[in-house]
Each structure stands twice: as C-alpha cells, then as structure tokens.
C-alpha cells in the first residue's frame, strides 16, 4: 500500500505555468487523471515519476521525496507516453532487460510473469520495431509491471489500442487495483476514465479543478442545472405537481417521457418521491440525462 502525495505543487517553464498549485493524494485503487490536451497531465506524471522537479511544493511517496531518489523506482512502475523503445531487441529481451535493470532475484521468471500478464507471450520473440501500437503499449506495461510495483503511473495508456486490447488493459488495471496497488493513469477520453476510475483528479489549464468520485463532484456543482429523464404512470400529473411545488425549473412533456431540469439538486431529489406518492403516480424510470463524465468535464472546462 503506497500513497503519492502532492502538496502545493507548481511547475513553470520560463513564464509559462504548466501546473499551478496542485495538492492531491493518490492512494490505492484506480485514479484517473483527466484533462484536455495541454492541461499539464504529463507534467504532473513526470513530477510524480521523479523526472521533473516541482518548481515549488513537494511530491512524496509514502513521505519520501521522489525527485533525485532512484530508490523510489523499486515501488514505482512507469509507463511513459513516448513510443520509442530499444527497437533493436525483441519484446521478450526488452522486458527481461528491464527485470535485470531492477536487479531482481529471478529476472526470467519476473519477465515471464509480466509478459504473460499483458498477454504478449505469443508475440514475445518478435522485434519491437515490428509491433503494432497496441502491442508496444502492452510491452511497455510489462516493463512497468516486471518488478511488481505498488504504484503504477501510466501516461495515456489507452492511446492506439483497439477496443479488445482496451478492455483487456482495463481489466488488468482493475485487478491490480484490487490487489491494493495505487494505479494512476492520465487520459483525455472520458469514457475510459468513467469506466475505470474510482477516483478522478481533473486538471484544467494547469489547475486542479476537481477531485473525488465524479458523481460526487457532479453533486457539488449545484449551481449547474441537472437534467433527468422520468417515465411514470401519469407523466402529466407528475409534471404539474413538480411545477407547482417549484422543485423543477422546467418540465418538457412533449415526448413519451418527462424531460426535467432542476437547479437545486438536493431539493429535487427529496421532493420527487414525495410528489409521486402524494399524487399516486408510479415512477417507472428516473435517469439522470447528463450524469456522464463528459458533461461534468465540459462544464468544468467551459467555466
């Protein structure tokens, strides 16, 4: 069990601020680092991986500073974004070399386990230069897993993967997290983060815009209108009750279901069952229409 802790971390290049006063704690489980391109995700991961000193603030792993401390790599596995590897070797040789660089007691067994874990046993003896993007990505995963790290940092790991490989990697990350490891990955694709991450950290323009469970974050932003799709035994009666009560701002009854917009989330959630009960209306379906990460995210970005 390892915890990465960032306190007041900023990083600037000349007069460009890439990361601005970020404080976050990344603990066991899967954490998604989410943000649009150029938001500072890679800079953050570089700092967490000890490849970039923060201009101010501190990055520590279980209380030990990460920068200029090569010992932390015993517990950190890093999957860099860069495509480049040592092209002249086969996937197997490369993972094995990484195991040896870690000074493991039994590098061959460790490499075999890692290659097996990413499902690359069949293609392990081919030159890396001949791999597809997804295969390269999996070999990179294997090099990061070879020493059984407690912390796994992945920079845009799903880039270039086909849906099947994507699913496989998601399962792998989830099983790693279930073993109590700290897994952090960056992405600008909401679908991945939504499916995978228990916790998200949102960075926008170098600032830490939000963190936590994304549904909870969504609730925190009460000033934003929430939309629901409701089907019930008597749509019109329910609509009238909601408007009369004032818990919904607007209700659209024109289609087969109710499209409801409410600006006070808490009040609406409490009022709805009461209104339905009082009016003797059976609720068949209540679906948040915009509770996807996409809408949370586009809201944060547009702010």
């Amino acid at each position: 069990m390892s915890t990465l802790e960032l306190v007041g971390v900023s990083r600037w290049y000349g007069d460009v601020v890439a990361v601005n006063d970020v404080t976050m704690t990344v603990g066991p489980g899967v954490t998604g680092l989410l943000g649009p391109n150029g938001a500072g995700k890679s800079t953050l991961i570089s700092m967490m991986g000890g490849f970039l000193p923060p201009s101010s603030g501190s990055v520590t792993l279980d209380g030990v500073p990460v920068w200029r401390n090569t010992e932390v790599y015993r517990s950190i596995g890093l999957v860099p974004e860069t495509e480049a590897m040592y092209d002249m070797v086969t996937g197997w040789e490369f993972v094995l070399a990484n195991a040896r660089l870690h000074g493991l007691a039994n590098p061959v067994a460790a490499a075999r386990a890692a290659v097996d874990q990413v499902d690359m046993m069949d293609a392990r003896n081919r030159d890396i230069s001949g791999y597809s993007k997804g295969m390269k990505q999996r070999i990179k995963m294997a090099t990061a897993l070879v020493h059984n790290p407690t912390v796994l940092l992945l920079d845009e790991p799903f880039n270039g993967m086909d849906p099947r490989q994507r699913l496989h990697l998601m399962e792998l990350l989830q099983s790693l997290a279930a073993q109590g490891r700290t897994v952090l990955f960056s992405s600008h694709i909401l679908e991945e983060v939504e499916q995978l991450a228990g916790t998200i950290e949102v960075v926008v323009a170098g600032r830490h815009a939000a963190s936590g469970d994304f549904r909870r974050i969504r609730k925190l932003m009460t000033q934003r209108p929430h939309q629901y799709t409701i089907r019930s035994s008597d749509n019109r009666a329910l609509a009238a009750a909601m408007i009369a009560d004032g818990s919904a701002d607007s209700v659209d009854v024109s289609s087969g279901a109710l499209a409801v917009q409410a600006s006070d989330f808490g009040r609406f959630v409490r009022a709805l069952p009461k209104l339905a009960c009082d009016g003797d209306v059976r609720l068949l379906e209540v679906t948040p229409a915009d509770e996807s990460l996409e809408s949370v995210f586009s809201y944060l970005v547009a702010r």
């Binding site: 800079t43 570089s46 000890g50 490849f51 090569t70 480049a84 590897m85 002249m88 990484n98 090099t143």
Partner: protein, 242 residues
C-alpha cells in the same frame, strides 16, 4: 558498471545505419593508408602525416561524435532513456557503463584502425604505431567523455561537438597559435612526441605542449566531463511536452 545497460547500449549503438558509417570510416582510413604507402614508398614521414592529420584530426573526433550520439544522444532525443533512468540504479553506474561501451567502440573503430593505418602506410620497427596507438587511446578516452557529456547537456551536441573538434582544433588552430595549445589532439600528441624522442621532429610528430601538461590537461578534461555528465544525468528532466 551494469552489464544490462552495456548490452542495451551496445545494441542501440551498433544497430541500424550507424554501424555502417563506422565501418565506412574505418575502411576509408585503411584505403588511404594503402594509397599513402604506394605514393610515398612507405616512408614513416608520410605515414605520420596521415595518422596525425586524418586519423587523429578527423576520424577520431568524428568517430567519438558518432559513437556518443549512439550511446546516449539518440536515447535522450527520443525519450527511450526513461527505461534506464526509472530503475533503482545509480546514475553514475549508468553513465560509466555507457562510457565503457562508447570507449570500446571508439577503440575498435578508430584506435585500432589508426594503428593499422600506420603499419600499412609505413613504419620503422613499430615505433610509430606504438606512439600513435598510445596517443589515440588517450584522445579516445577524452573525446568519449567530452562528447557523451555534451550529448546529455544539449540536444545540439553533434553540432557543438563538431564546432569544437573541427573548427576549433583544425581551422582556428591553424591561424591562432594559442588555440592550438587548448586541444585534445595536441595534448594526446605530446605523449607520442615524447615516446619517439629524437626522431619525433623528423617524422613530423610535434605537439604544442609538453607531455606533463598534455597528460594533466587530458586527465582534467576527462574527469571534469565525467563529473559534469553524472551531475546532469542525475537531474535530467524528461517531459513528453516537446
């Protein structure tokens, strides 16, 4: 030293087209040596001019540069060095391993061919070969250290290295006498000059500096380069932002 680092480095260095360049350079030098022998009847003097001007002056620094880009420059350029750095290895260990591979390559592709070229072009009892061999080894150590460190410090390592090796040592050195004393080649030559003793002048093996100065300067420059290299490698920042 780390065997795995050395293996990966060596494969990277000798892979692709770089190895071809190294071999072509080597063959050119040997070809010229044969031509020199034919044109000047194996005179040690002509042999010495070839070894001094072409082998030590051009081939050795170029080889040093080509090797240095292969040993570390290319890896930093494309970011693959991250796999070596993200390991519980001392950065010193990584650099020393890479320097060892680099020196071995320069030794095989430049120092040995220089000695062979002297033998082919004309020698007298192996004296010239030995003198140039020792000089070339010393110069190779210094060049490897300087250029590998340069490769860590700047991405324009090749151009800066060439500016130094060719413009400074060869062109400027030709016009401004003071500059010639600040030159790896002259320092290395001082040893050959001493080894050949009274014959040095006749064979055109002359250095701007004495042997003590030469050796001290070579040692200083090499140690300084290695020290700086380790320091910079320790704080090497990597970021995928290009």
């Amino acid at each position: 030293m780390n065997v795995t680092v050395m293996q990966l480095t060596a494969r990277n260095l000798l892979g692709r087209r770089r190895a071809m360049f190294l071999v072509i350079l080597l063959l050119l030098l040997l070809g010229l040596a044969m031509l020199t022998r034919w044109a000047s009847d194996a005179s040690p003097n002509a042999s010495s001019v070839l070894a001094n001007g072409f082998a030590l002056g051009t081939v050795l620094p170029l080889m040093g540069l080509l090797v240095a880009t292969g040993v570390i420059g290319a890896e930093i350029d494309d970011g693959s060095i991250v796999y070596m750095l993200a390991k519980p290895l001392r950065r010193r260990e990584i650099l020393f391993s890479k320097l060892a591979v680099g020196f071995a390559a320069v030794f095989i592709f430049a120092v040995l061919p220089t000695m062979a070229a002297v033998v082919i072009a004309g020698d007298e009892g192996g004296q010239l070969m030995l003198a140039y061999g020792v000089s070339a080894v010393l110069a190779a150590i210094a060049y490897t250290a300087i250029f590998v460190t340069l490769g860590i410090v700047t991405r324009n390592a090749v151009v800066f290295g060439l500016l130094y090796a060719l413009l400074w040592e060869t062109v400027l050195g030709g016009y401004v006498p003071g500059i010639r004393a600040v030159s790896v080649r002259q320092w290395a030559l001082s040893v050959a000059e001493r080894m050949l003793g009274s014959q040095a002048n006749g064979w055109a093996v002359t250095s701007e500096v004495g042997m003590t100065t030469g050796l001290v300067m070579l040692g200083l420059v090499t140690v300084a380069a290695v020290y700086l290299g380790v320091r910079r490698l320790r704080t090497l920042t990597l970021n995928s932002i290009e």
